[in-house]
């Protein structure tokens, strides 16, 4: 266990900034192990950017990097993201 680890709640504001919708209750499915969890429950690590990992298999779900003018997102390990319509 890494005491620097946070969870998806910590990036609620950032994600809402990008998606213009509340995202922590959205359900993400891991492309690695197939587990589905609310975004609020995934593991989050902050460094130069923000990394979201599966709480079950530690697979890299997504990366978010802000550079001042843009927000860069990649979703290497997220199979689906189900957002309330």
């Amino acid at each position: 266990m890494d005491s620097l680890m946070l969870d998806g709640n910590a990036v609620a504001g950032l994600l809402q900034e990008v998606f213009a919708v509340e995202m922590t209750a959205a359900i993400g499915t891991c492309a690695g192990c197939g587990a589905s969890e609310p975004v609020g429950a995934v593991h989050v690590y902050r460094g130069a950017g923000i990394v979201l990992r599966c709480p079950h298999c530690d697979n890299l779900l997504a990366k978010v990097v802000k550079d001042g003018t843009r927000v860069w997102l990649s979703f290497p390990g997220l199979q689906t993201l189900a957002v309330a319509a």
């Binding site: 609620a12 919708v21 922590t24 609020g40 902050r46 309330a84």
Partner: protein, 248 residues
């Protein structure tokens, strides 16, 4: 409402400090007037942004402590000595000061009265803050939902909202303290860190399918959430919110 998308981009807005109250030697509650505040759900938070004279900006998230109450919003902030933001909030802010914030944000770690109960809240230190919004919301609507709060603090003088919790304790709200480092003379309550045995004693049992909310420093949340699952609680009924040393 639960699960409903809240459309709209977040925008920064100016809030004015109306009151600052010391909760413990390290923790203060700051009350803001936020013009046009849309209201919030218990468990949500706001982002705060400080801008230095040279343009450097620092953002942090703080849980909302108050139940929805018009344009008044209360945050409770623990001072982290090496923090960039919290010492300013706890030491410098005075009534009449203005600050930038945006929100409310979050929709996972929230409790709606319509979910019913029983509800089991487990907080470590200032992790009690979003749980207190749930306790206060329940009180504000005169709800009879069965709710139990297990709060882990270092000592009796470190218990945030201590007097208010003493007042609210009773009927279908049960407040249980665990004091991990020091206990007042004659203390008969828990005097150790939260563990599975303590959670089983505080209840409710997994058979009652309680809605469980755990908030605190990451090590606290890891241990407590794991213990709940060991006891047989459905992992999907256990919602967690972690904060770390980078939060300051």
């Amino acid at each position: 409402m639960a699960g409903t998308a809240l459309l709209g981009r977040l925008t920064w807005q100016i809030a004015e400090v109306v009151d600052v109250v010391a909760e413990t030697p390290r923790v203060k509650t700051i009350a803001f007037d936020v013009p046009g505040w849309p209201g919030h759900r218990a468990g949500q938070h706001v982002d705060i942004r400080l801008t230095a004279e040279d343009g450097y900006q620092a953002e942090r998230s703080y849980s909302i402590a108050s139940a929805p109450d018009g344009e008044r919003l209360e945050l409770t902030v623990e001072r982290l000595d090496d923090g960039e933001v919290s010492p300013y909030l706890t030491d410098e802010l005075r009534a009449g000061d203005q600050i930038e914030l945006r929100g409310p944000v979050g929709g996972y770690f929230v409790w709606e009265p319509s979910q019913g109960g029983p509800v089991l809240l487990a907080g470590g230190g200032s992790g009690v803050v979003p749980l207190m919004a749930m306790v206060r919301l329940r009180a504000a609507i005169s709800g009879d939902v069965e709710m139990r709060l297990l709060l882990s603090s270092r000592g009796w003088d470190d218990v945030i909202y201590r007097d208010e919790l003493e007042r609210l304790n009773g009927d279908s709200l049960t407040v249980v303290h665990a004091l991990t480092r020091s206990q007042p003379p004659g203390w008969t309550g828990f005097a150790r860190r939260v563990d599975a045995e303590m959670l089983a004693e505080v209840g409710p049992s997994p058979a009652e399918r309680p809605h469980v909310y755990v908030c605190g420093p990451t090590p606290f949340v890891e241990v407590v959430a794991e213990a709940f699952v060991q006891l047989g609680h459905d992992p999907r009924q256990v919602k967690t919110e972690r904060f770390g040393p980078t939060g300051g």
